[in-house]
């Protein structure tokens, strides 16, 4: 399974990851459109991104959420009815939505663009042994 490994102790809160993510997927540099977020929690960084646990798959009423060949949870927009239940039911609050761009939710798909943009190695795209 492809998943982002977080090394929070290395994070300097530069938010280059958020910028790279939103530019890659929405062609716009906006924190509100990033699938990964970095927040300052009492001076410590708090990185929030999907860990591909798949709890959302069980919640979706149209089976629009499914794992791809890499074990990454994907939103199939052709099946999605924009009910956003996956957003409210995500255990780590990592499913995103933004009504200015689209009604369907969006999430980290382990593309690794943020990891490449990270100057300190706080993010790494790993392939874990579990295939599902």
């Amino acid at each position: 399974m492809k998943v982002l490994q977080l090394r929070t102790e290395k994070c300097v809160q530069c938010k280059e990851c958020m910028s790279a993510c939103s530019k890659a997927w929405f062609k716009e540099d906006s924190p509100a459109l990033s699938r990964i977020t970095v927040e300052n929690k009492a001076t410590y960084p708090n990185i929030n991104v999907c860990n591909q646990c798949g709890a959302c798959i069980e919640v979706c009423p149209t089976q629009a959420l499914e794992r791809d060949a890499n074990g990454v949870v994907q939103v199939r927009k052709d099946k999605c009815t924009s009910c956003l239940m996956c957003v409210g039911f995500c255990p780590s609050a990592s499913m995103r939505f933004n009504g200015t761009k689209q009604t369907e939710p969006f999430k980290c798909i382990s593309c690794g663009i943020c990891a490449k943009a990270c100057p300190t190695g706080a993010l790494e795209l790993l392939t874990t042994p579990e295939s599902k």
């Binding site: 069980e58 919640v59 009423p61 149209t62 089976q63 999605c80 009815t81 924009s82 009910c83 956003l84 239940m85 957003v87 409210g88 039911f89 939505f97 009504g99 200015t100 009604t103 369907e104």
Partner: protein, 342 residues
């Protein structure tokens, strides 16, 4: 599927209205004649005044019924109508409860105007097909199926070939009949009633949807007032609607972002607290049993008492052991309360 092909009796095509701010601003009238096979179809406009005064599903139903009948009309007269209407929120996918639509009719049970609502997909699909309401008037000369094809913008009346009057049988067969394949079954909703409607004044209406997880047709009820008896009296076996495509903003709301935020906020609270509070997702309205017992509201011994010492035998915990299948049973999209059971 073992249903024979149905003969087309009448057909009508229409230009669909586009939904703006929750209203299509058109309603559909289907006349079945007076046992003479004289079918009639009409689009009727919805005025600003009608929206201002009557607002939503129940109001539209009352207005259309009022216009259709006189003070002398009886429930089994041909001019009695079965009106089905969703309000401006009907079909919104982002938060719970928006699959509901209202049925309004002169009731065989009370001989008065009656309304009863149901979930399922019929109301949203009717709206997405371009209609704020559906009026069915008259009586067919033979058992018919009314089909609103919201994909091809046609209304068709078929002679029913259904061999059984059971609501589950009717719904399952018609989902099969009008769907191209398994995936397509969720684009259909069927309104039907059961065989008891032939002999009783109190029989309800069933509104269907296709559950993709269970791979089964599920029924929700507009159970009060005898709407099923009215449908049966009109010789209508079923009303079917089909609508494949719709977006998350099909109702064209003023502020979709606000709706999305409100929806997510509700979903989050239901996710966090439902299992401790109402248990709607795990046991549905069965959780009321304990609450009604605690508050002395159960009709024990015909309301002589309000609670019972053996309540634990019928509590929601017992219910969950016997019936719950370990998954939430949704209804219309976005209803994270998912109170439908069985």
């Amino acid at each position: 599927m073992d249903m024979k092909e149905m003969k087309l009796l009448s057909e009508w095509s229409y230009e669909p209205a586009k939904i703006h701010r929750g209203y299509a601003r058109e309603t559909l009238y289907v006349g079945l004649g007076n046992k003479d096979g004289n079918y009639k179809f009409e689009k009727r406009p919805v005025s600003d005044d009608m929206i201002e005064k009557f607002t939503g599903g129940r109001g539209f139903g009352l207005k259309l019924l009022w216009d259709a009948v006189t003070e002398k009309t009886k429930w089994d007269d041909p001019e009695n109508e079965l009106v089905i209407a969703g309000g401006p929120f009907c079909g919104i996918t982002q938060y719970p409860g928006t699959g509901k639509s209202y049925t309004v009719f002169l009731s065989p049970a009370t001989k008065q105007t009656y309304n009863s609502n149901a979930g399922g997909y019929f109301g949203p699909f009717l709206k997405f097909s371009g209609f704020d309401a559906l009026e069915i008037q008259g009586k067919a000369d033979r058992p018919v199926v009314v089909f609103i094809d919201g994909d091809n913008y046609k209304v068709q009346i078929f002679e029913s070939t259904l061999e059984d009057n059971n609501a589950y049988y009717i719904s399952e067969e018609l989902h099969d009949y009008f769907a191209k394949d398994e995936q397509d079954k969720r684009t259909i909703s069927v309104i039907s009633t059961g065989m008891a409607a032939k002999t009783s004044y109190i029989v309800g209406l069933n509104f269907s949807f296709y559950d993709v997880r269970r791979k089964a047709v599920r029924l929700k009820q507009a159970g009060r007032g005898g709407g099923g008896t009215v449908l049966s009296d009109k010789n209508v076996v079923a009303i079917v609607v089909k609508r494949t495509k719709f977006t998350g903003a099909e109702n064209d709301p003023v502020d979709i972002e606000a709706i999305m935020k409100a929806g997510v906020s509700l979903h989050k609270r239901i996710h966090d607290h439902d299992n401790e509070q109402c248990k709607m997702r795990s046991v549905g309205t069965a959780h009321l049993t304990e609450i009604m017992d605690d508050y002395e509201l159960l009709p024990v011994n015909n309301y002589k008492f309000g609670s019972h010492k053996d309540i634990n035998n019928i509590s929601s915990d017992e219910y969950a052991k016997l019936f719950s299948q370990g998954m939430a049973d949704g209804c219309w999209y976005g209803c994270s309360l998912a109170c439908a059971r069985l």
